[in-house]
Every structure is written in structure tokens, then in C-alpha cells.
């Protein structure tokens, strides 16, 4: 199984990735993403950090908050698109 498929096996990570796939312009905090995806903030934070480490998200770190956003890596975006487009439609 490829790396992206493995990541998307996690229900929480999948929900977060779907959110960014549908809203690629979004830059949001843990609390914001937890609200949009209906995930507990503590679980969202852990998943967001792991997704950032995996390169699926970008973490913009400030002193008072971290803004998470969708990757700008074309390869990762197309891989995710291939996995999700069928599943969502």
C-alpha cells in the first residue's frame, strides 16, 4: 500500500485531508479545523502535526498560533486527488 493510502486509512486524517482537498485556500488553526471537521481539538492537533510532518499539510508557525494549510506540492496533490475524487463522488 502506498504512503498516501496508508495515511488516509486513519479516519481523522482522512476527514482533515478531505477538508483541505475541498478547501485548498484555507489556512486555519487547530480549533478552526476541529470545528469544520467535527473532530475533537486534541485529536485534530495530533493528526495535523503528523500530516504536516508527512508533507500533506504546511504548518505556518507564529508565536501565538499555528496555521495549517494544504500542501503546494503538485505530486502530493495529484496523488490525493486520485485517491479522493472517486471516493467522494
Amino acid at each position: 500500500m502506498d504512503r498516501i493510502s496508508k495515511i488516509l486509512q486513519s479516519r481523522i486524517k482522512r476527514k482533515i485531508v478531505i477538508f483541505f482537498y475541498e478547501n485548498p485556500q484555507s489556512v486555519d488553526s487547530v480549533r478552526g479545523i476541529a470545528t469544520w471537521t467535527n473532530i475533537k481539538p486534541k485529536l485534530a492537533k495530533k493528526a495535523l502535526e503528523e500530516l504536516a510532518k508527512d508533507g500533506i499539510l504546511v504548518a505556518h508557525r507564529g508565536s501565538s498560533t499555528t496555521g495549517y494549510a494544504y500542501t503546494q506540492d503538485k505530486n502530493i496533490i495529484s496523488q490525493i486527488e486520485a485517491k479522493l475524487s472517486n471516493a467522494i463522488t
Binding site: 478547501n23 486555519d28 469544520w36 496555521g67
Partner: protein, 505 residues
């Protein structure tokens, strides 16, 4: 969603509704039969009919799976339901299979846009039950319509709420730094992120020279870009600054950064999905630009304040120096050594700033000590040494009245403490001594060893480093000693030492 789609969504919601399933169960238990419930939308064809069952395991009717029979039932029902659409009233009927049935209109948006059919009953249903059922179905339909409206509202509001949340997060991110060198690339990265662009360039206008300076350039396809080596024409920026108007075409979007006057521009180029920039992108970048202006102005003011403060400190140091050179202040190389150690220990920006101020005004407290003691070439008496030991406290008092220098006070106060607790003025030990003071203590001792003093000559650099290494854990913090030795080994402070010696030896 158009009317037809809305209507279809309404019917699907009714078919999935737990209330209608519950209503069917109640009805079946009341009549003692297993009825078949059908829902049909205004298109009135077989494809748009939805069969509702209370329990999927219960067969709709014994032979219903036979497609011919299903087809027959559908044809029969469609005829009945058409009548409901015409009359807008519930009707009862007998079907070709000698079953009883009924059909209810379901109002939606002031029209009868759906109909519920119930059939395969062995007897006619009393009119009172029929009326109760009609009311129940109307209540369910109203509830579903409200749910649909709420859902529609949510779908409309959600993208705006997500966009608003993005604007809020971006605002917090760019407002959380006062360092212009950090701020501008952050604004560029966030602009690219929000607009899904490939390139971003930020320029600032030099208010004195009245020229446009490219400050940040980010190309997501290239890892690094040295803006100083780039030959950017900035034609677009010149135009935006001259006219004060936003520039938008399919590939480029450039907005002016407007304060009371234009202070610069943000340009984003080429969408990642190769689509064109839109008016929505323009609105977003304009909002981002407005936030950026505030953050840039704050950072510029903060830098200006820093420059003014440093200027005042240098003036104060110069005044002290004029009285007795190299007694109240340390040479500039000393400050560099202190800052290099601080950097090696990865101190925060704020701590580095305090360290710099403390290093510049370290011995300001010596102003109260008579010159003959400070310049005495022989050993000091006990009383004289007591006076010398007061200078950290006096120094802290002198800078204490200057508000921005307050973080530097503990560093000035404790720079003669020793790691083993035998220093002065308060005999603090280990981590009780602020880290900045531990750094200064080492740099101060090192400088004293390699520079000439009234009471002794200079020491070779290697010997001085060895002396410091030997005093690790007693006079000096081992962590600071390690950082210092790393710097010496790496040759980072070799040049500083050479400059120090040239000037002082």
C-alpha cells in the same frame, strides 16, 4: 440548487426520514398489515418513485420482487398519484390486484410537488385514520422543509465562514512577529497559500529615496531565491504604486499596500491549477494586504524604536568612555563574542536584544568608583575591592530608569556571579544566575585575559581558552563553556578576537 433539484432533495429526505419510517410502523401496527409506501416527485415517472419500507428484511409483498408485478403496481399507482397532484386532496382507491390503497399530497413551497401512496391493504381505512395520517405527513414535510432550509443556509454560510476563519488565522500569524525580515516572507507564503499561486513578490517603497525595493520573492517551484541577485523589472509594481489601483489579469494579481500613502505592493502570479485569478482572489488579497500594512508598519516602528534605543545606549556608552576610555565600556568585539555565544545557545530574539544592551552597558556602574582605584596597577585593598563589587548594583540602578532596558537589568546585576556561588553581589549559583549573565561572565573573563589591564599583561588565546575550560563548573556554566569552545573551534570568533587584540594590545 435549482427548484427541481430542491424538490428531489426534499423527496429523498422524506424517504430517509426516521419520522416517516416510524409513522409507517405505527400505521402498519394499527391496521395490522404490512403496507407498501411510495413516494413520487413531480416528474411522475417510474424512475422517480421511491419505495419506503420500515424494515428492509420485510418483503414489500410476497411476490413484489417479480419485476412484472412491480411494474404493474407502479403503473397503477402512478395513475392514482396523478389524480392527487390534480386534486391536491387525499384519495382512496382499489387496485387491479383487488387491494385497497390511498394517496396523499405533500405540499412543498405552496405547491403539491410530491405525493405519498400507500397500498397493498386488505381493507379500506377509516376516514379519521386517514385524516390523522394526512396531518402527521404534513408535520413531517414541514419539519423536513425546515431541515432543508437550514442545510441550504449552512451550505451558503460555511464557505464564507471558512474564508473568514482563514482571514482571522492569517491576521494572527502576520501579527505575531515584529521582525520585518521574518514578516515579509511570511506574508508572501500566506498569500501564495490562500490564493494558491506559484510566485509572490513583495516590494516596499523607500520613503526617503522614493524608490521601489523588492523585499521578498517566493517561487514555490524553487526552494530558495536570493532577491538581491535577481533583476526584477517591477513594471507592474511601478504602475500599481503610480495609480494606486489593483492590477488583475488571468495570470497576475498585484495590490498596493496602502497606509496614508502607498508603502509597497504584493504581487501573486500563476495559479497552481492554471486557472485565472478572479474577483474573489482580488478581494482576498486586498484584505490580506490591509492586514499586512498594519503588521509592516508595526514592525517598522518597532525597528525604529530599537534603533533609537541602541543609539541612546551607544551615546551613553560614548559619554562614559570619554571620561576614562575602555573602563566603563567594553570594546565592540566583546559584544560580538557575547552575541555569538547567545546565538550558539539559540536564545530567543528578545533575549538576544537584552544581551546586547547589557553587554554595552555592563560596567556603567563603575562611574561611582574613584579613578585611582579603577586605574590602580597594584593589588586592591579590602575596602577598594568592596567598592568595585558594588558596580553591578549601581549599573543596574543606572539603566533601571530606562523602561526598554529593564530586561537587561538582571544580566548587568549578576554578571560577576560565579557558577559555584562564590561570586558577587548576591552569591547566586547555577541556574539562579540568569543565562545571559552566565554568558557575559565568561566573555568578560575571556576579554580580561586576552586584553591588557593596568595590573597585568595579556594572555595567549589558547591559554585563555584553556583557563576557561578549567573553570567550567566552578566559575563558569559548563553549557556556556561548551558553546564558547565550539565557537573557538569553529573559527567563528577568531576574527573578532584578532580585532579585539589589534585594538587593545
Amino acid at each position: 440548487m435549482n427548484n427541481l433539484e430542491e424538490n428531489r432533495d426534499f423527496i429523498e429526505r422524506i424517504s430517509r426520514s426516521a419520522d416517516i419510517q416510524e409513522e409507517k410502523k405505527i400505521f402498519d401496527s394499527f391496521v395490522g398489515e404490512t403496507s407498501i409506501w411510495w413516494l413520487i416527485g413531480e416528474k411522475l415517472d417510474k424512475k422517480s418513485v421511491i419505495v419506503i419500507t420500515a424494515d428492509k428484511n420485510v418483503s414489500l409483498c410476497s411476490n413484489f420482487s417479480e419485476s412484472r408485478l412491480r411494474d404493474k403496481c407502479l403503473n397503477c399507482l402512478l395513475k392514482k398519484l396523478r389524480n392527487v397532484f390534480k386534486s391536491s386532496r387525499p384519495i382512496q382507491f382499489n387496485c387491479n390486484l383487488y387491494f385497497f390503497g390511498m394517496a396523499f399530497p405533500i405540499p412543498y413551497n405552496g405547491q403539491i410537488s410530491a405525493s405519498l401512496g400507500i397500498c397493498h391493504l386488505n381493507k379500506n381505512i377509516p376516514s379519521l385514520v386517514l385524516e390523522n395520517l394526512r396531518i402527521a405527513i404534513k408535520i413531517i414535510a414541514d419539519k423536513i422543509k425546515k431541515e432543508q432550509e437550514l442545510s441550504k443556509l449552512y451550505e451558503t454560510v460555511k464557505p464564507r465562514a471558512i474564508a473568514l476563519s482563514t482571514v482571522h488565522t492569517v491576521h494572527r500569524l502576520i501579527g505575531s512577529t515584529l521582525n520585518l525580515e521574518e514578516l515579509l516572507p511570511r506574508i508572501a507564503r500566506l498569500s501564495l497559500q490562500v490564493l494558491r499561486g506559484k510566485k509572490c513578490i513583495i516590494t516596499l517603497v523607500d520613503p526617503i529615496k522614493r524608490i521601489i525595493l523588492p523585499k521578498t520573492f517566493i517561487d514555490i517551484d524553487k526552494k530558495t531565491a536570493n532577491i538581491k541577485k535577481m533583476h526584477l523589472k517591477l513594471t507592474l509594481e511601478k504602475r500599481v504604486i503610480r495609480t494606486g489601483k489593483i492590477y488583475l489579469d488571468s495570470k497576475r494579481l498585484c495590490v498596493p499596500l496602502m497606509d496614508q500613502e502607498i508603502i509597497g505592493t504584493v504581487r501573486v502570479e500563476s495559479k497552481q491549477d492554471n486557472k485565472s485569478f478572479t474577483n474573489f482572489d482580488q478581494e482576498i488579497l486586498t484584505v490580506l494586504g490591509e492586514q499586512a500594512v498594519i503588521a509592516i508598519k508595526n514592525a517598522q516602528l518597532y525597528e525604529e524604536r530599537g534603533r533609537m534605543l541602541l543609539g541612546s545606549i551607544k551615546s551613553l556608552a560614548a559619554i562614559l568612555d570619554a571620561r576614562l576610555p575602555d573602563t566603563y565600556t567594553h570594546p565592540i568585539g566583546f559584544v560580538e563574542i557575547v552575541l555569538e555565544i547567545g546565538k550558539e545557545l539559540k536564545l530567543s530574539e528578545e533575549k538576544m536584544e537584552s544581551l546586547k544592551y547589557a553587554a554595552l552597558l555592563l560596567d556603567a556602574g563603575k562611574i561611582g568608583i574613584p579613578d585611582e582605584i579603577l586605574m590602580k596597577p597594584t593589588k586592591l585593598t579590602g575596602k577598594e575591592y568592596s567598592l568595585i563589587k558594588e558596580h553591578p548594583i549601581k549599573g543596574a540602578e543606572i539603566v533601571g530608569s530606562i523602561e526598554p532596558l529593564k530586561p537587561a537589568i538582571p544580566l548587568i546585576m549578576h554578571h560577576h556571579e560565579r557558577f559555584d556561588g562564590t561570586g558577587y553581589p548576591m552569591k547566586l549559583r547555577k541556574e539562579q544566575i540568569p543565562l545571559g549573565a552566565r554568558i557575559i561572565a565568561l566573555a568578560d573573563a575571556f576579554e580580561a585575559m586576552i586584553c591588557k589591564r593596568p595590573y597585568r599583561g595579556t594572555m595567549k588565546i589558547n591559554d585563555a581558552v584553556e583557563e576557561i575550560r578549567k573553570s567550567s563548573g566552578t566559575q563558569f556554566d559548563p553549557i556556556v563553556v561548551k558553546a564558547f569552545i565550539n565557537l573557538v573551534r569553529g573559527g567563528k570568533i577568531k576574527n573578532i578576537i584578532c580585532r579585539l587584540q589589534k585594538r587593545l594590545v
